[in-house]
Symmetry: C2
Subunit: 122 residues, 2 copies
DNA sequence: TTGACAGTTGAATAGTTGTTCAACTATAAT
DNA sequence: ATTATAGTTGAACAACTATTCAACTGTCAA
């Protein structure tokens, strides 16, 4: 069956359409859920944070090393790490003068690889 | 072996560290790749676009219907659809007065579900 | 204790981005 | 032909965000 626009329907047509939708159980998920989803992707939607996650995927590292690796100031890196930390994607541990950061979530790698696969096939 | 900070190393220690890194083949991927990755996530990092993708996952739909479903103006929806379209995530087909949009990529659903799973377990 | 280094923080700035508004095109109906 | 509807577009505005800068804390070494 061809899809139709709800905008052009008579009352009766709209009624039938609604019945159809009922039987197919088409429904939007909770709005807050979609907001959480987009918030999560927003975290990944920044090249600095992606690079940080990628680097920490391989190595536990401290702020200065990450700053060297990405050619950024320690301040900028620290700001972004704080965001990743408050989202519970990385965890920090202080040892002496250094603060070492590590991934706290194993899903991240999977999602990164998933997206890479998408990009490669596109 | 405990991780160390490159910042505190002597030349000799740094040399040994580099040898270690060589054997472990730790390397950052091409920078442009990570930029593509974050660009992709940036697309998903907006609740309007996530809702559009979610809706189109179930239904091919036209602009007015999507606008009704999300309680937005047709203009706002059209702008966002244009972004999704230029990223080749949706495709458009004009039929009569309507323009019907549909997902053009099957990876999207998988990635959405992946992220949802992550959110549920967190 | 003093100096040096690692990292954090808040304010300021510059760049980005989503929505609105108004004007426009194109299709269908009377 | 005229009118109404569906959708697109560009400019303008407001909100958001990443980086920089300067000041600060805490730790180690001399």
């Amino acid at each position: 069956m061809d899809r139709i626009s709800l905008q052009n329907l008579t009352i009766e047509q709209l009624f039938n359409y609604n019945k159809l939708m009922d039987t197919k159980k088409i429904e939007m998920p909770d709005t807050t859920l979609l907001y959480d989803l987009s918030d999560f992707f927003k975290l990944m939607g920044d090249s600095t944070r992606i690079q940080l996650l990628w680097a920490l995927e391989e190595n536990e590292m401290c702020v200065g090393d990450l700053a060297n690796l990405l050619n950024m100031t320690k301040s900028a890196v620290s700001h972004q790490l704080k965001i990743l930390r408050s989202a519970k994607l990385v965890k920090a541990e202080k040892r002496g003068k250094n603060v070492f950061y590590a991934l706290s979530d194993h899903h991240v790698k999977t999602i990164l690889e998933m997206a890479l696969e998408h990009l490669n096939e596109g």
